[in-house]
Each structure stands twice: as structure tokens, then as C-alpha cells.
């Protein structure tokens, strides 16, 4: 948040100090004291630490898939829109845009989170991991490999969210059973009906990891 405050109010500070200095410079010694204390008061009145962001565009920083990124967004921008439109990370999908289908699932500090119901300005220091950040050094995550092998994707719209939910399970539980997999993906809707293949892919990936 501190970074954001700096960004919204940086230039004026110098202006006022300078004006205070010019005023003071033309006065007697006593006058200088009054003027400089006046500058202090002015500063206090003009620049309360108002942390309000927006409603217009604000600059924020965000750590996405290990990289520090800079974004210019309005506070109403969801994390899903910020990722897809601002950062062109279109692997994250927006299905219902109401938090019901979980297609937009990303990780915030490793916690599966609905990016459509998260404001981008709220991400702060938390690290964002999207489907694009799951592969390491050009090698797919074991679960991504298993999804291909088990044909766990049809139209593909739910797939990235499904993988983010299931991959979270694998990072928390190295030996999941079918119920664990079902619980982990309960929020992820798939209209094509890929669930059986998603389940078998996840169980298979757990064995290979």
C-alpha cells in the first residue's frame, strides 16, 4: 500500500517546500521561523495521509508468476481482468464472473482464489500464480502432462481453473484419494463433463510426482 500512496501524491511535496523556502528567504530571521513553521502546517493540512485509491487509474505493483509487474488500473478492476487484459495472461478464464464456476481460479500466496471476485488493488504483497506460472523452465507441471495423457480437457474453458484447484491439492497432499480430488475440485464447473478424466489425471499425477 505504501508504494501506492507514494504514487498518488508524489509531486506536490517539493512544490510546497520550495514555496515555503522562497517566502521565508525574503523575511527577517523571526519571519523565517514563522514561515517555515507555516510550511509545516500547510503540509499537514494539504497532505493528510489519505490512502484512498482511485476512482480513476492508479499504478500498482504486483508479483505475478515470480515477476514484478506494474499495472495501471482502476480500483474496480478485478484481478481476472488485470491478468487477462493488462498483463495479457489469458490462460486464466472468466466463466460466470460471479465466483460460482471457479474457472478464474489462481493462487494468491499459494491459496486458490477466485480472481473474478478479487480486486486487483487488494492483491498487495501477495504473490499471484496463474496457469502460465505452473510450468517450470519450459517443462509442464506433472498435472498438466497428466491432463494431456488422460484427455481431461474438452472445450478447455474450465481447464486452467480445474488444474489450479487440483495442483493445489497435490502440493498439500502427496497421496490423495478419490474423495480428496473430488473435494478439491468441487467448485470447478465443467459443462463438457470432463470430471472423470480430471479425477484420474490428478490421481495419476500424484503417483508420478
Amino acid at each position: 500500500m505504501k508504494q501506492k500512496e507514494k504514487k498518488t501524491t508524489p509531486p506536490q511535496k517539493g512544490t510546497f517546500s520550495r514555496r515555503g523556502f522562497l517566502k521565508g528567504a525574503g523575511l527577517t530571521a523571526a519571519g523565517t521561523v514563522i514561515a517555515s513553521s507555516g510550511v509545516m502546517t500547510l503540509k499537514g493540512q494539504q497532505f493528510p495521509p489519505d490512502k484512498t485509491l482511485g476512482p480513476d487509474v492508479v499504478n500498482i505493483r504486483m508479483k505475478v508468476n515470480g515477476k514484478a509487474r506494474q499495472l495501471s488500473i482502476e480500483p474496480r478492476t478485478t484481478l481476472a481482468d488485470a491478468l487477462r487484459i493488462e498483463l495479457q495472461l489469458t490462460g486464466t478464464k472468466i466463466g460466470c464472473d460471479r465466483g460460482s464456476c471457479s474457472a478464474c481460479t489462481v493462487w494468491l500466496d499459494g491459496v486458490p482464489t477466485l480472481s473474478c471476485m478479487t480486486l486487483a488493488v487488494e492483491v498487495d504483497e501477495r504473490e499471484v500464480t496463474t496457469i502460465e506460472g505452473l510450468a517450470t523452465k519450459g517443462k509442464l507441471h506433472a498435472l498438466q502432462e497428466a491432463f494431456i495423457e488422460h484427455d481431461a480437457s474438452q472445450c478447455g474453458f474450465c481447464t486452467s481453473g480445474m488444474i489450479m484447484s487440483a495442483a493445489n491439492l497435490l502440493k498439500e497432499n502427496s497421496d490423495p484419494d478419490m474423495e480428496d480430488v473430488k473435494d478439491a475440485t468441487r467448485g470447478n464447473f465443467c459443462r463438457c463433463g470432463t470430471h472423470p478424466n480430471v479425477f484420474s489425471a490428478t490421481l495419476d499425477a500424484a503417483k508420478k510426482m
Binding site: 480486486l119 484447484s165 473435494d183 467448485g187
Partner: protein
């Protein structure tokens, strides 16, 4: 979503200084264009804004206020849950599962894994109804200032079967069903840090009393905690939810039972129905039936029947009656 500014409050006082409206007030006709509202998990608020029902000018986040997401237990005071405790934290807390099983079950069955990790207890209590007419900006319904409840003559399969004469919406919080059965108290902090503790039985507001809101919360107030008294003697609880799907669905009917038992004999029980009325519904007729009785198939069945004796179903939701009768019976039998 409409354009709004964002303020990240770091203390309750700071949040109270910045907020000037409840979310409910922003949904009413002639709502202020300078409304500044609270947000915790944001699941309900962002939904209302996305649907065009609420157009706040400023959102004040209370999610990062330190100390509001703690769970603590004291023998005398009981269980205290900070308002920012997530549903997931409630569902995975070992003591809650051990001593307050019905609350654990209600949290575990609510929404999706992702929503449970984001949605907070305070937000869950303060959320608005999911009635599809209320949630539609094209329906100027009773709750939004007109005199018409569209559900009564309309599509009402998920609507209220009791207390549905003014507005047939059902209260959407499953946690409240369980919390009311535990006689929970809600701690509300107001301007100047003044704290009041309200029984959950006095927290919800019927549409006949005030159609514009579902709780007593005022603009300059924040739910800061929920307190559940410590269990007396042999208290047992159980919660059952019935939905169309096993996961990720609002209840068609849910019930929470908390009973003080002496072996199989019920000294007293709270039986609360969810998705039955515009507020969580304490069924006194059902409670009377089991009070002082041995809990068995016969008494549990009678309790279910008593709870539904005065039901006034609408054109499409009479099917809820046998469901309620059955889950009341099952929840009671699960105690013994």
C-alpha cells in the same frame, strides 16, 4: 461494475470513520451517490455491484484489520470467532468440529472451496438474500421499495414456505442456521469504539418489520465477532443441508439441531431451519415436541411434522415440506 474508489482500513476506528452507508441502503431507490460501504471477503458485495444493484462511490476494506480473523476459546466466555474468520477456517478448526459440530458441518457444506477461503463470517451474516427477483435489477421487488413480491405468483421453487406473506425470499446464510441453534451472540462495534453484543435471535429483521434490510446493522457499525456460549453438560449438535447438487449449491432446505441431552433424553433442544423463511427460522413447535422426551424415531418424526404444521407453501415449493420433515427427523436421530 460502476467506478469506485478503494480504501484499505487498518483499524476498526479508521473503517468506521470512512464508511457512511450499509450495503442494503445502496440498493434502495434514491440511494446516496456518495455511499461508502464496507467490504471484507467481497463475495456478496462484488456480486451486488456487478449485477448493478449497488453502486457505492467508495469501498472500505476491513479485510486487513489486524486481529479480526482470530478464533479463541475460553471456558467461561465460550468460542469467539473474529468477523474476518473465513468459512474455511471454521470448517477446518479442530475445536469447532469437536464441540460445535453443526457449525463445522454448515461451514463445510457452504459454497465452494475457493469461496470458503475468501468469504468471511461477518460477511456471511450480513449478506443479502439470493432470491432471483431481488438479485435482478429488472425487478423492482418488495425488498427494493415496491409493493410487489414477484416470487409469490412467479418462479418460487426455492422460496420461503413459512412467514412468506410479504416477501417470499429465504435468508441465504447457512452458518446462521447453525449459529442460531447455538444461541450465538453477535458483537457489533459502533462509532467511538462502542461495543454492543446482540443475541442472534434479535439480529435478523423480517420484511414485515423493515423491507429494506435483513439485519439490524446500521451504517456506522461493524460486526467484529461472533460468540458462542460454551457447551453445557452433554450438548450435541447436528446440521443437514439438502440441495439439488451435493456440492456448490445453496440449500433447498437445511436444519441445525443443538440439544442438551441426558443419555437419549432431550432436556431441551434448539431446532433452526434455513431456506424456509426470510430469516433463519427457530421452530418452537418442533422444539416443544422433543423437550423432555427420549429422542427416537417416533419423537423425531413428530418434531418434523410439528415444524411443518403451519407451513404456507407457494405454487412450486410444497416439495420442501417433506424434505424439512425428513431432515429434522434425521438431524435429531443423529444426536443419539
Amino acid at each position: 461494475m460502476n467506478k469506485f474508489s478503494f480504501y484499505d482500513a487498518t483499524s476498526i476506528e479508521e473503517a468506521l470513520e470512512k464508511v457512511n452507508s450499509t450495503v442494503s441502503s445502496t440498493i434502495q431507490p434514491g440511494a446516496s451517490e456518495q455511499a461508502s460501504v464496507l467490504k471484507a471477503g467481497g463475495i456478496d458485495l462484488l456480486d451486488l455491484i456487478k449485477e448493478g444493484l449497488s453502486k457505492p462511490e467508495k469501498i472500505v476494506s476491513i479485510r486487513n484489520i489486524p486481529g479480526m480473523d482470530e478464533v479463541s476459546y475460553d471456558e467461561k466466555k465460550g468460542l469467539s470467532l473474529g468477523a474476518n474468520v473465513t468459512l474455511d477456517k471454521i470448517a477446518t478448526n479442530a475445536r469447532i468440529k469437536e464441540d460445535y459440530l453443526a457449525l463445522h458441518q454448515a461451514a463445510e457444506k457452504a459454497a465452494t472451496p475457493q469461496i470458503r477461503k475468501m468469504a468471511t463470517l461477518g460477511g456471511n451474516l450480513a449478506q443479502r438474500t439470493r432470491c432471483w427477483y431481488f438479485r435482478s435489477m429488472y425487478h423492482d421487488c418488495f425488498r427494493k421499495g415496491s409493493s410487489v413480491c414477484y416470487a409469490q405468483p412467479g418462479e418460487n421453487q426455492y422460496h420461503a414456505i413459512v412467514m412468506n406473506e410479504d416477501c417470499a425470499s429465504v435468508h441465504s446464510s447457512s452458518l446462521s442456521t447453525a449459529l442460531m441453534a447455538f444461541d450465538a451472540a453477535i458483537e457489533i462495534t459502533g462509532q467511538g469504539g462502542k461495543v454492543k453484543v446482540i443475541s442472534i435471535h434479535d439480529f435478523f429483521v423480517l420484511p414485515s418489520v423493515d423491507r429494506t434490510r435483513e439485519s439490524i446493522l446500521e451504517a456506522n457499525e461493524i460486526i467484529t465477532a461472533v460468540i458462542i456460549p460454551s457447551a453445557k453438560g452433554e450438548t450435541k449438535s447436528h446440521y443437514i443441508k439438502m440441495g439439488e447438487r451435493e456440492s456448490n449449491d445453496w440449500p433447498i432446505a437445511d436444519v441445525a439441531v443443538v440439544a442438551e441431552l441426558n443419555e437419549d433424553k432431550c432436556k431441551k433442544a434448539n431446532i433452526v431451519l434455513g431456506a424456509a423463511a426470510p430469516v433463519p427460522f427457530l421452530s418452537e413447535p418442533a422444539m416443544k415436541v422433543v423437550k423432555g422426551k427420549i429422542i427416537n424415531e417416533e419423537s423425531a418424526t413428530a418434531a418434523g411434522k410439528a415444524a411443518m404444521a403451519d407451513a404456507t407453501p407457494l405454487s412450486q415449493n410444497a416439495y420442501k415440506i417433506p424434505i424439512f420433515e425428513t431432515i429434522i427427523k434425521r438431524a435429531l436421530l443423529a444426536l443419539v
